[in-house]
């Protein structure tokens, strides 16, 4: 081993390891095994799968952050690389932090031009070991991944039984696979032990820091939320990264929703496109069956006309938008928070849509189930804005909870009895309660009362077509009143004061939250106390306006180019143009805590920096 002119990175339960693989080779499950093993050792972990828009043969990365303190956002920088992909070997070599570790397949020597002297190279002849130990080519491919996991177990000094336990769990139903997998783990473990004693300064030590947490991806939690929230129908069209929302719904519905005859208490239709998927959701909800759909950017655009119908005809809908990098097809397997404006103002004419914005799987579950209540209560579309990072990656999350006393809020719906007991003439769009929301009836409720005509054209209180200016206008203003009502119905922001007197604050939402909290913790350690407001819904609660009033400098942290949430903030509050300062990340990777921190430091120091975090600077230094 060559001498290294740099101190090695040393850390216990606090480092980032990145696996560089080729997709379609089974690496994801091995990498997941590693990450879950850390979790089972009681140490919080945050895995991020960085995959291409392709099925087989292209580079894919898997980044695992081991984080004793439970910082689950992306940190930035890589301490350890497992470089299994020849196509990206050089790049993976270059991006490693000085003092870091480079594990590679030493069956072939590293090329000549790999000559960093500030990192530690760990060569393991993975291919050769597979050739020596396995005959079947598919086995040779799969076990290569297991072997390096075994090696890592040694290098990080992990509890080997945790890994073997995971193998046993995983292959509970295919028992004969257990022994060979454990064998492969041991191969790697032993090789590393033999050749790399005391080389690695990174350790995973057992802790009790995960409590009763679970590990789950956001889309699974969302699908489950739809089951718990009482959704009975999903019309959808496949699109990454939202596909697994409906797949999860299907899985859990199949598990929990069979009647005595084995028939389904739910229905799922794969629509021919997103327009149809949204039309289906509208039809189902019109009939009083909680219905939803899930999509991503291109689908959201295609649903735009229908969202206007639902807004104006006041039909509850739940739409899950799992955002990815736009515009257009963009980077379909990368994350972003860039559908904020298109979702909030979806459709032509004067429209505003309710958004709910979860930041972790538990909130995916809660907000999705709540979304059906909110939609029914407000009789309007509710868009749950998730994203690829949240939806498709596993996250350590507090466990999912359900209060068995909770009753679905179906909003204002009249029964046949209600109709019979009414004194006044019923009007579907009559604002009798002053909250801008009328009473609806489901089709088929009553033989002679309660029928009405639903339409996207202008209508009066009784749902009759009208071109009367003042009737139209009054209806539009009622919708504004309903928007006011929505502010009380939607989840409140999470506001935290680090220092009541501080004039500096930060606003963020969704998956920008974790990295932001971490960055601000770091700043607090250095004495800068920044209060925070995590937005959970749109329309904004007045508390957010107050929060803005209270501060002089407010960083608005988001993952899009055009500062879209900031736009909504200044529009809705009519204030803050000067003090709302953007911190943006648009590179398709989860926003990184170190970058946020550095950015805020520079901005507070009065430097004139672009809101973007990488471009123009990334070349100069290995930036966080």
């Amino acid at each position: 081993m060559p001498t290294v002119n740099h101190p090695r990175i040393e850390a216990v339960n606090d480092f980032v390891i990145r696996f560089a693989n080729v997709n379609g080779t089974g690496s994801a499950s091995a990498n997941n095994m590693f990450s879950k093993a850390v979790f089972r050792m009681g140490v919080p972990v945050s895995p991020k799968n960085i995959f291409p828009s392709n099925i087989q043969g292209l580079p894919t990365w898997f980044e695992v952050r081991v984080t004793e303190k439970g910082y689950l956002g992306s940190r930035g920088d890589v301490d350890f690389v497992v470089a299994i992909n020849g196509q990206t070997l050089k790049q993976d070599y270059e991006t490693l932090m000085p003092g870091g570790y480079f594990l590679y397949d030493s069956t072939k020597a590293l090329p000549r031009d790999f000559k960093r002297d500030d990192i530690f190279e760990i060569g393991i002849p993975l291919t050769q070991m597979c050739i020596d130990n396995y005959t079947n080519p598919r086995q040779r491919q799969l076990f290569k991944n297991i072997i390096y996991v075994g090696a890592l177990a040694y290098l990080f000094n992990m509890e080997f039984e945790v890994l073997t336990g995971m193998v046993k769990d995983q292959f509970a139903k295919k028992e004969k696979l257990i022994a060979p997998n454990i064998g492969a783990l041991e191969l790697g473990y032993n090789y590393a032990k033999e050749h790399f004693t005391e080389v690695c300064g990174l350790r995973v030590e057992r802790r009790d820091n995960v409590g009763d947490s679970i590990m789950i991806d956001g889309n699974s939690a969302t699908g489950l939320g739809a089951v718990y929230g009482g959704a009975t129908f999903a019309g959808w069209y496949p699109i990454t990264p939202s596909t697994s929302v409906v797949e999860a719904f299907e899985k859990y519905a199949n598990k929990f929703r069979k009647d005595e005859q084995g028939k389904n208490k739910f229905a799922i239709l794969q629509a021919e496109d997103e327009l149809s998927a949204m039309g289906m959701a509208i039809g189902g909800n019109w009939n009083g069956a909680r219905s939803f759909t899930a999509t991503s950017g291109p689908g959201l655009s295609l649903m735009s006309e229908f969202l206007g119908l639902a807004y104006f005809a006041e039909i509850p809908i739940v739409l899950i938008d799992v955002q990815r990098s736009g515009p257009s097809t963009g980077m379909p397997t990368r994350t972003q928070q860039s559908d904020v404006i298109s979702a909030a103002y979806a459709s032509h004419g004067d429209t505003k849509q309710v958004l709910l914005i979860p930041c972790d799987p538990a909130e995916c579950f809660e907000m999705t189930s709540a979304a059906f209540d909110v939609a029914d209560r407000l009789q309007t579309p509710v868009i749950v804005l998730s994203d690829l990072d949240l939806g498709m990656n596993d996250h350590v999350s507090r466990p999912l909870k359900w209060d068995d006393d909770r009753k679905y809020d179906r909003g204002k719906v009249l029964t046949a009895e209600d109709l019979d007991n009414m004194q006044e003439r019923w009007g579907r769009y009559k604002d009798v309660d002053g909250d801008g929301i009328g009473y609806r009836t489901y089709p088929g409720t009553h033989p002679t009362k309660g029928s009405y005509f639903t339409r996207g054209s202008s209508h009066d209180d009784y749902a009759a077509y009208t071109e009367d200016s003042s009737v139209y206008e009054a209806n539009m203003e009622r919708l504004v009143k309903k928007w006011e009502t929505a502010k009380d119905v939607a989840p409140r922001p999470q506001i935290k004061y680090r220092d009541k007197d501080s004039k500096v604050a930060a606003i963020f939402f969704g998956t920008s939250a974790q990295a932001s909290y971490e960055a601000l913790d770091g700043l607090q350690e250095e004495g800068t106390k920044i209060n925070t407001c995590r937005i959970k819904s749109f329309p904004f609660h007045p508390d957010i306006g107050k929060f803005i009033e209270e501060h002089d400098t407010i960083f608005v942290i988001e993952q899009n180019r055009d500062a879209q949430m900031r736009t909504l903030l200044i529009n809705e509050f009519n204030t803050g143009t000067e003090k709302l300062r953007s911190i943006l990340n648009i590179d398709g990777m989860p926003i990184r805590a170190r970058r946020i921190k550095r950015k805020i430091e520079r901005m507070l120091a009065g430097e004139n920096v672009s809101p973007f975090t990488t471009v123009n600077s990334s070349a100069q230094e290995v930036e966080a």
């Binding site: 129908f233 389904n264 149809s276 289906m280 006309e305 068995d404």
Partner: protein, 350 residues
């Protein structure tokens, strides 16, 4: 403006089995042009529902956008109606049907609404065999937007604008048959005798039922050069035969039993007795019907009547194995797995 109903009603109007008079099935005053074919079709729908003694509130009226799509306001005012957006009635109806399988869905659309902007949704609706009646008020022109070409216009036909259509027409019946629809019919707005039983049969059929009704647009496409004009259709109409619909409970009393070529039992026990000429079309065979349609097209005939009948198919709910209770009637108890199940799930995720 045309008037569907007279204001005077005899107190002793006849009543159907439910005790309703025809008036109970009517709608608001039509705002279509006087003489518009669509109004006649509305009347036939009213008649059919009245005669079948359907509960009006158990019917849902669905439509897109167009003069045709306005008509649901002009019939069945005790039914809920949904005038959605242009070309998208199929998906909204699909969702509605998924939400409540117990209603009768009558969808109304125009040729623009279905064959142009709605083509994709239409095709997939048929493919899914959704249980509904789909009526196309086919005037071969865009009425509401004032006379543009439609995709159902025949080659060589020209509307009031005077430019003959040169594109291949979409034959919605042919498409529906080749996509497996089990009930496909064509009719003419002016032929109530044919249309009313067709609608009744379509309502009784389990699965997707299409009725393509030629319905002249008196304002933009009723000129002699149009193959969708009153005159042209009257002169070129050719019927496949007639049929009776015999509800399950009723005795079969047919005037001339010799004429019954076939008797087909629908899902709910209702029978369709087909009367047709010897050697005429076998409507149960989809291949021969497709040929007959192609042939009629070449002979410049409009083949009307029940074109295809196949009662042996699974509707969407059958395919999906949905429970018998309409989904919109399931309650928390039916739907929510509860906290214990969730805790078990949490456990599996550690």
């Amino acid at each position: 403006m045309s008037y569907l109903k007279s204001t005077f009603r005899h107190p002793e109007s006849p009543k159907n089995d439910l005790g309703y008079t025809q008036a109970n099935y009517e709608g608001a005053l039509s705002t279509l042009c006087a003489g518009c074919g669509h109004d006649s079709i509305s009347n036939s729908i009213i008649n059919a529902c009245y005669e079948l003694s359907l509960e009006p509130h158990k019917i849902a009226k669905m439509s897109g956008i167009g003069c045709s799509s306005k008509t649901p306001a002009y019939f069945l005012s005790n039914s809920h109606g949904f005038n959605s957006v242009h070309g998208r009635m199929p998906s909204v109806t699909t969702g509605a049907n998924m939400g409540n399988r117990d209603l009768t869905y009558i969808g109304v659309s125009g040729d623009g609404d279905t064959a142009s902007i709605g083509m994709g949704q239409f095709m997939h609706l048929v493919r899914r065999n959704l249980n509904m009646v789909y009526i196309v008020m086919n005037n071969g022109v865009y009425g509401l937007t004032k006379g543009q070409d439609s995709a159902t216009a025949d080659v060589g036909s020209s509307s009031k604008k005077g430019v003959p259509n040169m594109y291949e027409p979409m034959d919605l019946c042919e498409l529906a048959i080749s996509l497996g629809s089990g009930y496909v019919a064509r009719s003419f707005s002016g032929d109530k005798d044919q249309l009313v039983p067709l609608i009744k049969g379509a309502i009784k059929h389990n699965g997707f039922a299409l009725i393509d009704v030629v319905s002249p647009c008196v304002t933009f496409n009723n000129n002699p050069q149009s193959t969708k004009s009153y005159e042209w259709v009257r002169d070129h109409k050719e019927a496949t035969g007639t049929f009776d619909l015999v509800p399950e409970e009723q005795e079969i009393t047919v005037q001339n039993p010799d004429q019954i070529n076939e008797s087909i039992t629908l899902h709910d026990g209702t029978k369709i007795n087909l009367h047709r000429q010897p050697d005429s079309l076998d409507i149960t065979c989809r291949e021969s019907v497709l040929s007959a349609l192609e042939e009629a097209k070449q002979n410049k005939q409009v083949l009307t009547g029940l074109l295809h009948l196949n009662t042996d198919s699974n509707s969407t709910h059958d395919i999906l194995n949905t429970c018998d209770t309409p989904l919109n009637r399931l309650t928390e108890e039916d739907l929510c797995p509860g906290s214990d199940a969730l805790e078990a799930l949490n456990q599996s995720l550690r």
